[in-house]
């Protein structure tokens, strides 16, 4: 097959395969079983198609690849402009990687309104991929908002006890915050006449945007608020534990695995890409918030009696690392930030899947309801330990590489950032291993737990890829970093210039 001819369309293909699948799902299969198989096939298809991207990516080339740029609407000047670089390519693959696993993990836990569930899941996948591939700000906003509804519905329709509260809270937090981003986008459009990311970036760099100096700080904040809520950065994180605890397993996996990365990706791409000067000026308080998030998230995790809430707060802590790395403006810090995004997506996705498997058996997430589970469920315990260790940052597993890079970048920026950030690793070892001990080790505390069935084949099929990738990312990070590095380098160019200007003065 001539793969070169595929290049301009491959991104659209990857993005819209799930959506097309969801439309077919609306009409074709009727039985629940067929619906699940169909959803699995579609999501695997999207995954296979997305593998084309990292395979054929020119790793050392700067700028965007696989670009497609067509006029969509003339007034306003909106283009269907998509493209990826060494950073977003992996976020796309992360999304397509996690979705089939979500389908597998929801196989038996969703009984009602099965069709709607998988339709929403696939629409969500399209929207998520679209966020990472859009290069037109309008298109980006379009996909950004499009993630909102399927996710809110997944939480609200299939979640647990306080699902409605959690869904509405999630919706309102993100919706209100993204309004500020919309205002900033419209402002940029009204001054430059374009929504194109590259055009706007060039216009800003050449200083041809009227009134930019006065508005830049507000624009920076407009984008920042929208992304900070998504990340979520302390103190805007309060929606996250609620959403996670109430969401169905697949919802939690995609929420932690991909949705949160929309925020960190946005910070990297737009806040750093469009407003380098403001990013530098505001870095001190953003880094402070990130450090507070790292430590606060970890401390709150320590005292959680609920397993899912514990994992949710650990996300606040881990995503703090990403923000810390991003706003260190160093090569190592940014490399690490991107790597942590991917590693966290895999590991935390895995943790939520494991928690979901337990919930299916016992219908509770309370840690005190378990104890000594390693005896009835040895395989489950082994997988759990593996993923916990990956998340903690054990060398040779994926968590370690990213956190190490972030911390070395933070040390370069300012030693105190590195020192405080490093405590986060200690905390995370604490809360995760302690949780592991309470759930799995010792004697079986409750009689109901004695007869719990171990993993079945389907569950193993969902967990094995997670474990394998966690190991591969830990052993051969170069496979990822070789494309992340050049992209980060070109993202840092304006910062090097800024620094040179400061020194020159």
């Amino acid at each position: 097959m001539n793969t070169a001819s595929l290049s301009p369309y491959i991104l659209s293909l990857v993005t819209f395969i799930p959506l097309a699948g969801s439309l077919l799902l609306l009409v074709v299969p009727r039985r629940d079983r067929d619906i699940k198989v169909f959803a699995l096939v579609i999501s695997l298809l999207a995954f296979v198609a997305s593998l084309h991207l990292p395979v054929h990516l020119h790793r050392n080339a700067a700028g965007f690849q696989f670009e497609i740029n067509k006029q969509w609407i003339t007034t306003p000047n909106i283009h269907y402009h998509m493209g990826i670089d060494g950073i977003s390519v992996w976020l796309v693959v992360l999304t397509t990687f996690l979705t089939p696993l979500c389908v597998l993990i929801s196989w038996t836990s969703i009984h009602e309104r099965v069709k709607e569930f998988f339709i929403l899941l696939l629409i969500l996948e399209t929207a998520l991929i679209g966020v990472f591939t859009s290069l037109d700000l309008f298109l980006f906003y379009f996909f950004w908002e499009a993630t909102l509804i399927p996710m809110a519905l997944l939480i609200g329709m299939y979640g647990h006890g306080r699902r409605v509260y959690a869904a509405v809270k999630y919706f309102l937090f993100t919706m209100i915050a993204s309004v500020f981003m919309l205002a900033a986008i419209i402002w940029l459009y009204s001054k430059t006449g374009s929504f194109d990311f590259v055009d706007i970036q060039n216009a800003i760099r050449s200083g041809s945007v009227e009134n930019f100096a006065a508005a830049a700080q507000w624009l920076f904040l407009g984008f920042f608020v929208a992304f900070a809520v998504k990340v979520p950065l302390f103190p805007l994180h309060t929606w996250l534990p609620d959403a996670h605890v109430e969401a169905p397993t697949a919802g939690s996996v995609l929420l932690a695995g991909v949705l949160l990365k929309m925020g960190t990706y946005g910070l990297l791409r737009f806040n750093l890409g469009l407003f380098p000067e403001q990013a530098r000026q505001n870095a001190w308080w953003i880094v402070t918030l990130a450090l507070i998030g790292i430590i606060y998230g970890a401390l709150v995790s320590l005292v959680q009696p609920n397993m899912k809430k514990l994992i949710a707060y650990s996300s606040v802590s881990h995503l703090g690392f990403v923000v810390l790395g991003t706003f260190s403006f160093t090569q190592a810090g940014l490399d690490g930030a991107v790597f942590v995004m991917l590693a966290h997506g895999v590991a935390t996705g895995g943790l939520f899947m494991l928690a979901g498997i337990l919930y299916e058996r016992r219908h509770t997430y309370e840690i005190s309801e378990f104890g000594g589970l390693a005896t009835p469920m040895p395989k489950y315990a082994a997988y759990f330990l593996f993923v916990v260790l990956a998340s903690v940052g054990l060398p040779l597993l994926n968590g370690f590489i990213g956190e190490f890079l972030v911390l070395s970048g933070a040390f370069q920026a300012r030693p105190i950032y590195g020192i405080l950030g490093a405590t986060g690793i200690i905390w995370s070892a604490g809360y995760l291993l302690w949780m592991y001990q309470r759930v799995f080790l010792g004697v079986v505390k409750h009689d109901v737990n004695k007869t719990l069935p171990d993993l079945n084949l389907r569950e193993k099929a969902a967990l094995l890829p997670v474990a394998a990738i966690a190991l591969l990312m830990g052993v051969a990070p170069i496979l990822w970093l070789s494309s992340i590095d050049p992209a980060v380098q070109s993202a840092l160019v304006p910062f090097a210039q800024l620094a040179a200007k400061v020194v020159g003065q």
Partner: protein, 507 residues
């Protein structure tokens, strides 16, 4: 005195003078009011056919006549568009602008007739004049958009208003409906009186009631305080019609009592026509002192509408407050520069019409006999019991929130980008915060439909064909405006030039 006599050539007394040397309108002038003629003829047919029908038989055939009339009128707008220019002694003008609003209000009327078709049978309302009144009301709305003579605007306003006053009271057995009708009538008459007073003042200030002439008089001479008063008074009258704050108090009560499809009409048709008039009055004559008037009214409407809607438990009242808020969004565009503002207003009224008529079509079907099921609680579990209807309502509500791929999103987008282009940062921020607040109450309805257990005591009847067609039309139009807004916007900005060129460069 000299100014007065020169200006008089365009004014009403001049018409009287002309009447003595009477020159009958030419054939092409009649073509310029063809849609109005078609609507009137079909309205008459409905009225004449009504008494001939057997008392006991269904009146659905009248609805069919009404629908055919509306569709014929829609087709005749094409003919009308071939004859641009002024007519009837310079009282009305056919240009892109008026064609746009003709198509809009006639389409609204057609969809409303379609959604009333089964509604009337379910509510056991037996009255043929219902369809006739919709058509006559539409005549008034059409004339409002092509009239360039304040007196004709006033007459058109009355034609459309009186029809809607009566329509609001059609649920005769319900006290709320009579209350609605009476309240609308009393307050509405009061408001039109303000408008008429404003017209009189304007005549006093400029010596003319023709919009072109007023525009020239205001542009050339010094602006007297009288002109400011006139603009303010006319704004009060029209502000009432579009339900903008602080002239909005009637809205929730009237919308609650009136038949649901009629609320769909009232909240879009006369509103669109009143916005058209407002565009002419404010922009075409470049009305003095309009900025703060609009600014305050827009900010108030958005805020009071959204805050009011937050606490509503009745879906009709909720949508009533939401329509106040949406009037506020539209007014934001009036504060912007005329070029961008006008096309933003035109697009928004079209998008709002599509989503709101659709939403009320769903509400009117679900309300059932006697409009019993209107509280939010009644919508619990609708997503499971009537998936298509719930999906359609969700889509309309998402459009009202302003989520992408809906017409509502682009509507808001054009308005706020026009406002930012005019550096109206304050108003834009108020608007955006408001649309975020607004998300909450629309979301409440969606949450009810999808995330609550269904209630057995609320009946769900299958959607009849006509209602389904009406809803599907609205969904498709909302989607079309949300995915490919280009054509409509291009047409709107082209018509904007028509509107503005008329005074700036015209004779």
């Amino acid at each position: 005195m000299i100014i007065a006599t020169t200006a008089l050539t365009h004014s009403l007394p001049a018409l009287l003078a002309q009447a003595q040397s009477f020159t009958p309108p030419s054939g092409s002038e009649y073509m310029r009011i063809l849609p109005e003629l078609v609507l009137t003829v079909f309205g008459m047919i409905v009225m004449i056919a009504d008494p001939l029908l057997d008392e006991t038989r269904s009146h659905k055939s009248l609805g069919a006549i009404g629908l055919i009339g509306a569709l014929a009128a829609l087709a005749s707008t094409y003919v009308m568009a071939q004859y641009p220019g002024t007519g009837f002694w310079n009282m009305m003008r056919v240009d892109g602008f008026s064609v746009f609003f003709h198509v809009l209000v006639i389409a609204i009327a057609a969809v409303v007739i379609l959604s009333s078709y089964e509604y009337m049978a379910v509510q056991r309302i037996r009255a043929g004049e219902y369809y006739g009144l919709i058509l006559f009301g539409t005549v008034g709305m059409c004339l409002m958009s092509s009239a360039i003579e304040l007196v004709l605007i006033f007459i058109a306003l009355e034609i459309s208003s009186i029809a809607t006053y009566i329509l609001a009271g059609f649920r005769r057995r319900e006290a709320a409906s009579s209350e609605s009708s009476l309240k609308y009538f009393l307050l509405g008459s009061f408001a039109t009186a303000f408008f008429l007073y404003g017209v009189a003042m304007m005549f006093g200030a400029t010596g003319s009631t023709n919009i072109d002439a007023i525009g020239h008089a205001l542009a050339s001479g010094s602006v007297t305080p009288l002109a400011y008063v006139a603009v303010a008074l006319m704004f009060v009258g029209l502000g009432f019609k579009v339900a903008s704050a602080p002239f909005h108090v009637w809205t929730p009560d009237v919308y609650e009592g009136a038949p649901a499809p009629i609320v769909g009409l009232m909240s879009t048709g006369p509103k669109a026509a009143a916005f058209a008039v407002l565009l002419r009055v404010l922009f075409e004559i470049n009305a003095p002192g309009r900025f703060w008037l609009i600014w305050v009214s827009a900010a108030l409407s958005m805020t009071l509408g959204n805050v009011g809607a937050l606490v509503q438990d009745n879906i009709k009242r909720l949508l009533a407050y939401s329509s106040i808020a949406h009037a506020g969004y539209v007014l934001v565009a009036f504060a912007a520069q005329p070029e961008l503002g006008t096309s933003a207003v035109m697009f928004y009224t079209a998008a709002y019409a599509a989503m709101n008529v659709g939403a009320f079509a769903v509400v009117s079907h679900f309300a059932n006999a006697g409009e019993k099921y209107l509280t939010l609680e009644d919508y619990a579990g609708l997503g499971r019991r009537s998936p298509m209807l719930a999906a359609a309502l969700t889509f309309f509500l998402m459009s009202l929130i302003g989520i992408p791929i809906t017409g509502g999103f682009f509507g808001k987008f054009y308005i706020f980008s026009a406002a930012l282009k005019a550096n109206l940062v304050g108003l834009t921020v108020i608007g955006l915060i408001n649309s975020a607040v607004g998300a909450y109450y629309y979301l409440r309805v969606i949450v009810m439909m999808y995330m609550r257990e269904p209630r057995a005591d609320v009946p769900v009847t299958p959607v009849p064909f006509a209602t389904g067609l009406a809803i599907a039309t609205c969904v498709l139009l909302t989607l079309y405006l949300g995915v490919l807004p280009g054509r409509v916007v291009d047409f709107a900005s082209q018509s904007t030039r028509d509107l503005l060129v008329a005074t700036r460069l015209g004779p």
